[in-house]
Amino acid sequence: MRRRRAGSVAASIVAIGLAGVCGPPVLRGQAPAEDNCRVCHAALGDPRLTPPVEAFATDVHSARGLGCADCHGGDPSVAGMEGMDPRKGFVGRPSKRRSIDLCGRCHSDATYMRQFNPSLRVDQVAEYRTSVHGQRLLQRGDTAVAACANCHPAHSIKPAVDPTSSVNPLNVSTTCGACHASAEHMRAYGIPTDQKAKYERSIHWEAMSVRRDLSAPTCNDCHGNHGAAPPGVSSVGNVCGQCHSVQAAYFGGSRHADTFQMIGAPGCATCHNNHEILASQDGMLGVGEGAVCGNCHSPDDPGGVVATALRQAVDTLRWSLDSAAAILTRAERAGMEVSQAQFDLDAVITELVSARAAIHSFALDSVRPIVDEGLAATDTAFVRGRRALADLRFRRTGLAVSVLIILALVAGLSLKIRNLRQARAGVSHGGNHG
């Protein structure tokens, strides 16, 4: 099953209101006709009290028929301060800690949520309690950490599929970065604040922002959303393996898996980094400049020797593929029919990509058969390309010879015509004298 977009689930989940104090609100289908909360607060013009009312018009909860009182309590049918009576359930602005339960009244109630989206998860609060955020807030009373409204801004909550939503995949890094990229906010926790900047240099962000592939991972895909926490060293491979399953399987069976575990190296991230994951290049393999194997291995140790051999194998296949493709392209551009050879060569891309995945086994025995199969195909394609170019040369030579013969023919005809004219002139001249 495709990766779940935690962000999308989150926004959809928060999409339904938080009502009353003792249970989910009664579903009305639309906002109450006489909502004095909105009437008064819209008219106040107070910079603290009016903007929430205006923003709420765009909130998904408003669209589902929930109103102010469903979260804040009170009696919206009564105008003035009388409606804001604690005896009528008025809670005003809930504390961060209380907001968890307030949101959870609906979002943890499967029966209630089923009315809106039967497939929606209802375990956000349970997950939140396991998160670093939740543990700090609920166990230590740290109110600087994120709770529901920090990621799903109260009064303007939108579903994650909405590109303007704070939890749309394109916006998640900005939402998380609001705190995690802030040196001031993070000072008390002593954790880095460069994750967002690094992530935005990664291949994942490029896929997301440039290629607009919204399935590319963002913060919550590796850290979780409601249960956000750094993946443990031993689980990094599992997290990356959600998408990179073939590489993860090779790595899991390799000698590096146990060794990394033993020395506390974080699996994939040891070579590929965690947030600043760049596009993988063949140059990363081996012990030369820019190669990551050389971070631990010297050229002469057994691991370095294998790394060098792996690099040579992959390079050889890539060069052979490029050479064969180049000669076929030359032949094609010269007008030769080489589509079958190009079709057959296309299959070598599969071998090259498979070999690049197989290097995560760090065993030449896993890579060599794939490379050899690819090399056999590139050799065949190269021969077909050379044959096509030889055929082309033959045709061009034939054309040149034929042109020369035509020119010689034209020259011969010219001479013949001149001789005939001279002969005719001679006869005519002799006749006149006779």
Binding site: H244, I349, S402, A408, L409
Partner: protein
């Protein structure tokens, strides 16, 4: 006497020109017509820059719940016959890194072995790293022939 001495070179030159003209006809046929014919006669494999291809197998050759790779120009395509008997065809190049996909009868899905990418039988990427669906082709069955065309 002087006229008699000058005649032989002229005759010799004329004979050479006559010989040249005569033999050129054969050379012309051999050296001009043959290469030109080689250019004109279509190559053995046709439909290289195809907008449609007739597959080299008949509908009966493709069992339900199976798939076959075919050549569409110089690019690979995959023909899938659903369990219902319906034919569908897609580009066989994975939208991730260009590996050639295959049909998995056990999953009733199109699958890329390189990175375990899965596509449903509408070509939609449903699991793994492929970022986009497989481009689809139109399939028409005309008697014993399967004709695959690029969509409009």
């Amino acid at each position: 006497m002087a006229e008699n001495q000058s005649a032989p070179p002229v005759a010799s030159r004329r004979r050479f020109v006559d010989w040249l003209l005569g033999t050129s006809v054969g050379g012309l046929v051999a050296a001009v017509v043959y290469p030109a014919a080689r250019y004109v006669v279509p190559p053995a494999s046709a439909e290289s820059a195809a907008s449609s291809v007739t597959l080299p197998f008949s509908p009966d050759d493709v069992e339900p719940n199976t798939g076959r790779i075919f050549k569409f120009g110089s690019q690979p395509g995959i023909l899938v016959r659903l369990a219902s008997g319906e034919f569908r065809a897609f580009s066989a190049k994975c939208t991730h890194l260009g590996c050639i996909v295959q049909y998995r009868a056990d999953l009733s899905q199109i699958w890329c072995a390189c990175h375990n990418g899965h596509f449903d039988l509408n070509g939609h990427n449903v699991e793994g790293p492929p970022p986009a669906p497989l481009p689809d082709f139109e399939v028409n069955v005309r008697g014993d022939q399967i004709v695959v065309s690029r969509g409009a």
